[in-house]
Amino acid sequence: MATHSESHAEHPHFHAPSHWEWSTAPTLIVLGIFFSIPLAFAGHFVYHNSLMTSVFAGLGVPVLLWGISQWVSEGINSPESHHHGLSKVGLPIFIVSEVWIFIGLFSAYWALRLMAAQWPPDGTPHIGTNLPIIMTILLVSSSATIHVAEEKLEEGDVGGMKTWLILTLLLGTVFLGCTLTEYSKLIGEGFVPSTNAYSTAFFSITGFHASHVLVGLVTFLCVLIPALSGKTNKTFLACASVYWHFVDIVWFFVVSQIYFW
């Protein structure tokens, strides 16, 4: 029992609101997601109606961005007493969940591959390994640069933090550029998602990873934009950084399983 009391001594004062608190940011984000993902997807892929798609996406994306900006500004402007660094606990819990979704995807890939009569199946062009090596170097360096950015903020050097954060953003963007280049080359050679079992797994897994890179980059922008006007939050950057390292680690699995096996 004593140990529990001690652990509580470290977090003695949780924010106890004195009035009914509310925020529109979560609702805006959810509405944005609702219009720009399910409805826009259905407009394009189910009903093949481009007007519907553009209306839903046109409504959803601005609302989503509005919600995110409000969420970030509320978080960064709220009094220090509201922060207990609990996000540093919540994020790893989220990552447990993310790990399991990748386990699900990789299991599907392994099942297809191990049951196949021949691998790669017919119709698979040569997929070069030079580009993935370059992409690995890009992503590993970006993990290093975001770590430096974190250290700079820890030292109180906001300018240094911004520089290293921008560098990380650039590395991540170039990484996504490489993905797009590779996709367009493969699609040009006739290797599309519907080609065979390998293309099925290839585009699903690399695409899913790329979407995580995109989310990571958006998170960095959410750190960077307030930092331009001098507002920073160490917990926020620490979380964005842990997420980025996770995306980096997943990439090792993608490279080893999809490109080099």
Binding site: M1, F34, L86, V96, I101, S194
Partner: protein, 522 residues
């Protein structure tokens, strides 16, 4: 109004979950009535279109599980009462909590749009390929409902696990937590690990149907059973995600109403709740006995499925042990809890033959299974939830719910669900298949179907009375004292009814070493 809609307070988020899940329950319950009416006699009944019947089946299952039971238990009950029970002013991430409930609401909106669109989803709640990939129905709708509900639950898991780990009242040790807190924690641990598998399964379905991939297409090197494996890897644990918080509520009601400490607390928590959690991910093959599996896997998972009896047995023993020699008050909440105990016994015992591969190969696709899981999951959890609402009604509203009407509703519901589900259990082994639109091969079973349909109408009456009772009592009920049942748990002893912002006016309670939420007779 904005302080309700956009609220970040855990109690108001909880009420929002309750309203949404009851709305989903009403619509999904209507689907059940339609299904029962269609099954009244063999041959076409209220619709001559089996496709329409399929959309009812789809909506009933998907909405009952994803939009009623899971949000009702881990959304409403956990949100409202867990922070109060552990002495926390709110959850760890209040805005994330608001995010969760909004995802839940929009998922309900999306699900309801199924009745408006020209090509409604018709793939049951399981969405098995190849049908789900080949159907004209809108499979994307189903996938996105699952995504939104799933994301909502994952965020809930992050929130509640962090809250329980870091925000317990000073001095509150692990063995001093309410059983309901453990039920919620174990449910969220499972949601965290297993929902991503479901999300992956349905996402691959989406890719297969709309982007042309071949995960589940054997003709192009895919595997159609792959879906069933990934799907049930989540969806069997989902049963425990519903069962464990429901049992948690039963423990709260039973301990308070019997004025007894929870019997065998540690065996119940570490053996029962955590044992179930540990085994949850190793039993899914029992859903694929009929689909076809290598024998070594079937027999292995038959053993692990039967092993589940041990943790479930521990929890059941604790429930009955808590009642033993108690000074039991039979109010409406306790009556629902007793009804749920009966369902636990009947549903649990009918699970054992289903676990046996040799038996299940014959009854697995009959209405015996349909009845089994309605007893052990659907009816048990719904009764626990309704009992919980009656039990905590004075806490949420400051008023008593009307006992007479409450008990009338209970008897109608209890008799109604048994009259509906017991005949279906009996006719399963006689050859009544599950899910079918029609049963021309066994027309002699029609009288049992008549009985079941009449039963469902009794439930309609009982549920309507219950809902009306809640609304009228919340508005004009008799005023209740702060702790009407004489509970020892923090939500009753230390907060107002209903609690205000920040929950504990006198500051966070400090817990002593000899305190437990069940220290009756001390």
């Amino acid at each position: 109004m904005k302080e309700w809609i956009f609220t970040t307070d855990h109690k108001r988020v909880g009420i929002s979950y309750l309203v949404g899940s009851m709305a989903a329950f009403a619509v999904a319950g209507t689907m059940a009535l339609l299904i029962r009416m269609e099954q009244f006699n063999p041959g076409p009944g209220i619709t001559d279109n089996p496709h329409t019947y399929n959309t009812w089946l789809y909506f009933h299952g998907a909405a009952m599980i994803l939009a009623f039971l899971i949000p009702g238990l881990t959304g409403f009950a956990a949100n409202y009462f867990l922070p109060l029970m552990i002495g926390a002013p709110d959850v760890a991430f209040p805005r994330v909590n608001s995010f969760s409930v909004m995802l839940f609401w929009l998922a309900i909106v999306l699900a309801l749009l199924n009745f408006v669109i020209p090509d409604p989803a018709d793939i049951m709640w399981t969405g098995y390929p190849p049908y789900s990939v080949m159907t004209e129905g809108n499979t994307a709708w189903y996938v996105f409902v699952v995504h939104m509900m799933g994301f909502s639950s994952i965020l809930g898991a992050i929130n509640f696990l962090t809250t329980v780990i870091y925000m317990r009242a000073p001095g509150m040790g692990w063995n001093q937590l309410n059983v309901f807190v453990w039920g919620t924690v174990t449910a969220f641990v499972m949601q965290l690990i297993f929902i991503p598998a479901l999300a992956a399964a349905v996402t691959l379905l989406l890719f297969d149907k709309y982007l042309g991939t071949h995960f589940f297409d054997p003709a192009a090197g895919g595997d159609v059973l792959l879906y069933q494996n990934i799907f049930w890897f989540y969806s069997h644990p989902a049963v425990y995600v519903i069962l464990l918080p429901a049992l948690g509520i039963l423990f709260e009601i039973v301990a308070t109403m019997s004025k007894n400490p929870v019997f065998n607390y540690k065996a119940c928590i570490y053996g029962g709740f955590w044992g179930t959690t540990l085994l949850a991910g190793e039993v899914w093959i029992h859903h694929l006995y009929v689909s076809g599996m290598p024998d070594w896997l079937r027999i292995g998972m038959m053993v692990s499925t039967i092993l589940i009896s041990i943790p479930v047995g521990l929890m059941t023993i604790s429930l009955w042990g808590t009642l033993y020699r108690g000074a039991i008050t039979f109010n409406t909440g306790m009556m629902y809890a007793s009804g749920a105990l009966f369902f636990l016994l009947l549903g649990g015992l009918t699970g054992i033959p289903n676990a046996m591969t040799v038996v299940d190969l014959h009854i697995g696709e009959t209405s015996f299974v349909h009845s089994h899981f309605h007893y052990v999951m659907a009816m048990l959890a719904t009764f626990a939830l309704i009992g919980g609402v009656y039990y905590w009604f004075p806490k949420m509203t400051g008023k008593y719910a009307n006992e007479g009407i409450g008990k009338l509703g209970f008897w109608l519901n209890f008799i109604g669900v048994n009259v509906t589900m017991f005949p279906l259990m009996l006719i399963g082994p006689l050859g009544m298949p599950r899910r079918y639109y029609d049963y021309p091969m066994v027309p002699e079973l029609a009288p049992m179907h008549h009985l079941a349909t009449y039963g469902s109408l009794i439930v309609l009456l009982g549920m309507a009375i219950t809902l009306i009772n809640w609304i009228t009592s919340a508005i004009a009920g008799e005023k209740a004292p702060l702790n009407p049942w004489g509970s020892k748990s923090l939500e009753w002893t230390h907060t107002d009814s209903p609690p205000g912002p920040g929950n504990f006016k006198g500051g966070t309670p400090v817990i002593t070493e000899d305190w437990t939420p069940y220290n009756y007779g001390k």
